[in-house]
Point group: D2
Chain length 364, copies 4
Amino acid sequence: MSHNSFGHLFRVTTWGESHGIAIGCVVDGTPPGIRFSEADIQAFLDKRRPGQSRYTTQRQEPDQVRVLSGVMPGDSEGELVSTGTPIALEIQNVDQRSKDYSEIARRYRPGHADITYDMKYGVRDYRGGGRSSARETATRVAAGAIARRIVPGLVVRAALVQIGTIAIERERWDWAEIDRNPFFCPDAETAERWAAHLDAVRKQGSSVGAVVEVVAEGVPAGLGAPIYGKLDSDIAANLMSINAVKGVEIGDGFAAATLSGEDNADEIRIGGDGQPEFLSNHAGGVLGGISTGQPMVARFAVKPTSSILTPKRSINADGEEVDVMTKGRHDPCVGIRAVPIGEAMVACAIADHYLRHRGQTGRG
Amino acid sequence: MSHNSFGHLFRVTTWGESHGIAIGCVVDGTPPGIRFSEADIQAFLDKRRPGQSRYTTQRQEPDQVRVLSGVMPGDSEGELVSTGTPIALEIQNVDQRSKDYSEIARRYRPGHADITYDMKYGVRDYRGGGRSSARETATRVAAGAIARRIVPGLVVRAALVQIGTIAIERERWDWAEIDRNPFFCPDAETAERWAAHLDAVRKQGSSVGAVVEVVAEGVPAGLGAPIYGKLDSDIAANLMSINAVKGVEIGDGFAAATLSGEDNADEIRIGGDGQPEFLSNHAGGVLGGISTGQPMVARFAVKPTSSILTPKRSINADGEEVDVMTKGRHDPCVGIRAVPIGEAMVACAIADHYLRHRGQTGRG
Amino acid sequence: MSHNSFGHLFRVTTWGESHGIAIGCVVDGTPPGIRFSEADIQAFLDKRRPGQSRYTTQRQEPDQVRVLSGVMPGDSEGELVSTGTPIALEIQNVDQRSKDYSEIARRYRPGHADITYDMKYGVRDYRGGGRSSARETATRVAAGAIARRIVPGLVVRAALVQIGTIAIERERWDWAEIDRNPFFCPDAETAERWAAHLDAVRKQGSSVGAVVEVVAEGVPAGLGAPIYGKLDSDIAANLMSINAVKGVEIGDGFAAATLSGEDNADEIRIGGDGQPEFLSNHAGGVLGGISTGQPMVARFAVKPTSSILTPKRSINADGEEVDVMTKGRHDPCVGIRAVPIGEAMVACAIADHYLRHRGQTGRG
Amino acid sequence: MSHNSFGHLFRVTTWGESHGIAIGCVVDGTPPGIRFSEADIQAFLDKRRPGQSRYTTQRQEPDQVRVLSGVMPGDSEGELVSTGTPIALEIQNVDQRSKDYSEIARRYRPGHADITYDMKYGVRDYRGGGRSSARETATRVAAGAIARRIVPGLVVRAALVQIGTIAIERERWDWAEIDRNPFFCPDAETAERWAAHLDAVRKQGSSVGAVVEVVAEGVPAGLGAPIYGKLDSDIAANLMSINAVKGVEIGDGFAAATLSGEDNADEIRIGGDGQPEFLSNHAGGVLGGISTGQPMVARFAVKPTSSILTPKRSINADGEEVDVMTKGRHDPCVGIRAVPIGEAMVACAIADHYLRHRGQTGRG
């Protein structure tokens, strides 16, 4: 058991604090012969990197990843080949603004983990949120880049589908759009509405929540396992472990509670290729915890950034009542940067179950 | 790793199929000196037991639990004392209707795990759903009864808060009501509406989904751990592992996505007892994955029962297209019986984290 | 983590005390489609069963195993087919002599775990040693019978190679002999010497230690893993977990410490089948924690039975100094019954690594 | 599960190859408030560091450790305080002799893991042994330095007690001696004999095996757990995971097989402090897998270094028969440097069980 690891056969252990020397992770269990490059990982890190638009925090971090172990040179320039031994990934912390932490060190910012870390440990790294900072998620994105290579044909993509109360129109969904706006929004019109809305939120020093949808295509049928090794159960845990996430759903999710059995049934026929073909996907690609071969669909809700300019009532470590306001760098909607993180966490869960399925059944 | 275990220091491993000889679980890691009786466990099993109203399946199972190991006699009649060794709990299967399974053995019921178990394993126990049957959840409820005894002062209760599109009125919430209607509904008026609605659903041979809310009070502050050992992450996994669950949320959950940072902030003051006091609980009792000492609030969505009287298109194991209709015993809303199961899964997660916290910090 | 489980992909969780209602185990992770019968398991249990000669304890237990879950009927009478879900095995306790435990309940027998269980837990099942009784090992033997079926071509056998100071002559090793004497001795002449020696030991109410050697043939090359998943490391843990075991060695073991690098080297050539062929097996079938394809050879030392007729100085739970002598059933050499247990523990380790290897590499 | 992690609540994950950029480990589960410095860790690393005498390999590595996460500054210069989050330790590889690996890349050195890594993975880092190099053990020693701080009063020391056939005289055992000779030998006279012997071995380009004894004092009674969480079982696995180890024993170990029950019994009296006092320690400090409070005594056998100057028959990756001789840096007795590694592995096992015991029982 480790509080800082996830996965079983594809197992990721992360370490590091927001303002320490570096952050990193150890990716264990990668099959031998998997080919990737630092540039492949970097491409995903660059999607998550802060400071790329005015809608995310202005912290400037190059987030340059280094592969320290577990690989040999591949056939082409920069290509690496996994050897089956643990792959250590490391990212230096660069933009650790040297500043005076005496004020923040003892104040508990509402909505942050400051108070609970102190309740639990009695000591914490208060610089930039320490271990509870979203900075840790960079290592997940790096691990996810390797996970994607493990399952042949797997494609995991995510999109922001709601900011505050403004949701996308699903009929306008176009995956190509997600690279054309700073929100990973698959609906160009909604992206424009979000831009206007977030500008207002940002100017008020306020923040807003969001919903992210992750879709995994090319998931082989048969992944997942009864009863506590369900694929959707592991995906739920992985997504809920992302900072600020308050809800997770699979397929129709909470809307399934409002359906009748007739409407919720995904009927099955034999497809043109002689394989089972589902006529709908209310289930989100999983039945009884095991993948059906349909796209896996998961959504998660991200709460509004707790760091806001409005002073809020709180206490400090001395038990005194204080007002707390977050100055400095500001992220009006942390849900945006959660998009590549959600992709990575789903990819890791699928890679893990791919190996687990192969272990037990010899298939895959 | 085990696909049939959950928890780490308080660890439950379950076994058994719907129509096998028995079902059971091994509860490992219980501290020595915990006092309970078979009757304590039985009381929770009786809440989950089918056939108690016309709104749940008419399968008749006494669900009589036996404690086979891990205990010594206590001081009073029937009292048991845990010895710290594994506690084996067993429930005989009684109502295994002897019938002809030749038809169901090779047909895949839409919405059930029949097809995915076959995709994964190539062999399955098709009698009554086998391992994927909700019957397995009886063992979770039994384990939960022990979990409740481990954390001093812990009270875990759950209620059904929505059936189909009919939600309760939160102002009418009265915990005393949940024992007065067959739905575990905390709102007497809504319970009456549900009764009428479910009667109609049942007569049509249809089914409907539901939402369950679990509230844990008396959770010590400091339980849970960064980053992949978050209390809410483990609760999400535990709840998502329950049959037919499609979504999980903590505190405000998906509604948090629509809030501003100002509205979502749980401000903190010093309470009358000199301890931190939160002025609201949008977070649902957890910040950064660690409990705040407030009530833990989790909700989960249950899809409508897949077994319905309306024929649905499917295929069989021979790759032929067939129509499937579920005859016989029928459960119009499986969400009802999910209430005690949800309680048990949350209680187990909290007990596990109570021991994990004590292990690392020596506190608790 | 569980204190009562071992293995990862082939995972066994055991429960039960010497004088409780029953003992049992849950075998999780068995691949689907493995064929076996209760009679197959029973055959191994019968080897371990006490009371079969005057050299082992006279407790009379039929040790009849029942398979409660995880299987469907096979093609022939009694044949079972694993479904991939957990297999629960159960053995009723029959010979729980009803007697007065008031004396033993509070006295610590030297060499037994009585005192340490009380130091740890403060409460224990003192009847017949409770959880620390060798009775628990019956469930390991049952699990081992399934493990043997998982790896095609695997044959795991063990023999007693030393009792007290009397070791076998290796030149006389004949596997056929182990079924012809009550010691699992591969050397007929030594078996006779042991018979005479043990008769004397038994009459004196004394006891003696022993050494068991386990040989696994048909282990595929490539099982095991760096660094903490070494096959020999897991075998060492498995064997050391058997009651009364005080030492474990692989291949030449402690004798390797006395060798020169030249003498210890297992040279390699290309065999007649074009495959690597080792010219010796000092390594015992494992290099760097990974199997070579040669026979795996492990030995373990069993201390003399602690229950003897000579009174020994000890204390009781009240902190009083007492003399303790074990009356009643007596086992002069527990090492004898450790033979089938050692086989089972090695078979389980190999089956687990077979699945782990297949999971990571897709081979096997 | 991870093939590169050990421990449960005190959990260490290591990574890195002999000739990669760096090696390191993540130490997870350390309680908050543990105080140590990089210098503390360095002191243990310096004991293991090669090139310190003519009896160990001449590879020159400063083995300078850096603490990258999981700590805050303590009260004095260089002091660190653990925060309860993962502690990442890293050591740069400096002396990676740039040389031509074309010869070694495809030849299997007898006694090394070259062939089995290729059998398993089909690809390996052949530079200096890659992942199978003893270089990885530096990270264990670093982790062990933290483990020592977790259990109050714990002192773990080890000594070399045998080289080849030359064993120490136990009556001359003096812990002060181990720092006065290059062998960690507690017997000054034997150390002189070893010096002469090893000089001869080294000149011949040969090697020799050894036996290491680890003694842990200050282990609280009650650590360890039935049945598969036995303290001695975990110590056996930890020690067997060290490179070149072929045997492990606890207390009297294999010699216990030759004893009678009367001679093996550790009798118990009430000591001057009113606590149980054992009159001997054949058991090596553990009964039924649980610590007695006596010193924990474990020994392990290290095979002779496989790298020798005498050519040995082997094959290469192309299936051709070749002769292999190890040129260059040479370590006549790897057992010497195994002494601090053995200490570290035992310390880690005890720290892990200390936390596990505290988790389950609330004591410790």
